[in-house]
Symmetry: C2
Subunit: 268 residues, 2 copies
């Protein structure tokens, strides 16, 4: 993890851009790090860190306000990384099918998603190795959003990931649906009920498939980018429950109290 730049942002947030074996990435940490190393949230995204930066930064602020570090790495073939001809072709085929009002053919989805999942899962695990080697980060690790098929794969194969918050907003190959049946970590799935880019029934089928003993689907009215603020808050509480099961005695005590169910003892 070779750091390229370092910015101290509002709200006590340190943003560092890095290169890791020619994969660009961004790491966010609470600036005034507690003496103890912090858990980590892997921030997923649809590709192109530059374009996604404002939204990633919002999510990173939420993570660091909870006392967690956050990290994002570029997807293969996206942003400043060299394009991958086969992915470009599959993406064009997918767009053509959607523009024609067709259900995207399974082979097109497979050609687009499966190689991406294969390569990105390996790269994100390398990123985890590097991030967890830093003295200020210790784990456990949660996964948040991004290409949902990649989330399923990582939830299945990466034992350091203890919880996955997923966003139903992209296409899922049949083989990934089968992988979901073997996922056992807690999952929290956000579904935008009117997301045009998403097949609602496919999202419900994927949620049904997860083998996890704790799984929650939260569906909200609105399109792909219209996730309401309270849904983001509910997702943040999901991460807090699993990344820090005991109350956090760090810098943001109010927030961590919210994650502990308040019994009637709050009334004397």
């Amino acid at each position: 993890m070779h750091f390229l730049s370092e910015s101290h942002l509002d709200g006590g947030l340190l943003e560092r851009r890095f290169d890791l074996d020619q994969v660009p990435g961004i790491l966010w940490t609470p600036a005034l790090t507690a003496s103890a190393p912090v858990p980590l949230i892997l921030l997923g995204h649809p590709g192109d860190l530059h374009r996604m930066h404002p939204r990633l930064l919002d999510r990173a602020r939420q993570a660091t306000a909870q006392g967690f570090a956050a990290v994002a790495v570029e997807l293969p073939g996206s942003g400043e990384r060299p394009p991958i001809a086969a992915l470009e072709q599959a993406r064009a085929d997918l767009r053509r099918a959607i523009a024609a009002g067709e259900r995207p053919p399974a082979d097109v989805v497979d050609r687009l998603v499966l190689p991406l999942v294969e390569q990105a899962a390996a790269e994100w695990r390398t990123c985890l190795d590097a991030a967890l080697a830093l003295p200020e980060i210790a784990g456990p690790v949660a996964l948040s959003g991004g290409v949902i098929a990649l989330g399923v794969r990582l939830a299945l194969v990466e034992p350091r990931i203890v919880a996955a918050g997923l966003f139903a907003g992209s296409h899922v190959p049949r083989s990934i649906l089968e992988e979901a049946r073997r996922v056992t970590i807690p999952v929290h799935v956000l579904l935008q009920w009117d997301d045009r880019d998403n097949d609602r029934q496919a999202a419900l089928d994927l949620f049904d498939a997860f083998g996890s003993a704790e799984k929650t689907l939260q569906a909200n009215l609105g399109g792909h980018t219209g996730v309401p603020a309270y849904a983001a808050e509910d997702a943040a509480r999901f991460f807090a429950r699993h990344l820090r099961p005991v109350p956090y005695e760090g810098r943001t005590p109010r927030r961590s109290q919210c994650d502990t169910p308040q019994k009637s003892s709050t009334m004397p």
Copy 2:
């Protein structure tokens, strides 16, 4: 509202049983009432206040810990109220269909649910009149759970109800689905994904039907009575957002802070 008994319970909770035109009910209020009158949550249930009391009390504790009053009234033909022959017959027909593994016939659901909704909606509105006439209660009012068809009707016809937290766990006549299209208040629907007593697709169709600009479906793994603690907490936050849009400066400040999104300013 004729009070029959008064109990001071743990956690600073006053429980009063009452009779209102021969309908039994229970009112819960924070014992050390703030100077200002409080909002109210109407607690729905499937009938039989005696049997439901432990679970109702848990929900009432959550409401009063947030600084709200809560009230429940017995359903027509349930608990200590005189049985209603037509309802008993329809209920037996429904049980027979379910035991035979059949989808309950629409006319049986209509015979069971529609008269219940008609009578209960009138009685619950009378209860609202009486509760809001008490000096310690002012509204606004939220509805929480119970027979979902009754919830839809009340959400549509009772303007004092500003938000409805509904529990997908009972049968919905076609005409009630149509009423849902005209509901405009915010709704938060809990769905237990593996609820045997419930038709999952019917619950999704009902959620889809609501005309509300703010609607959330939260589905969790488990059966009818297996709602996880965090789902109850998320529902409580839904009520707090709509019953007290500004931060509550009363007796339970920690909890109300949880309902206000914490920006990065919590980190200096």
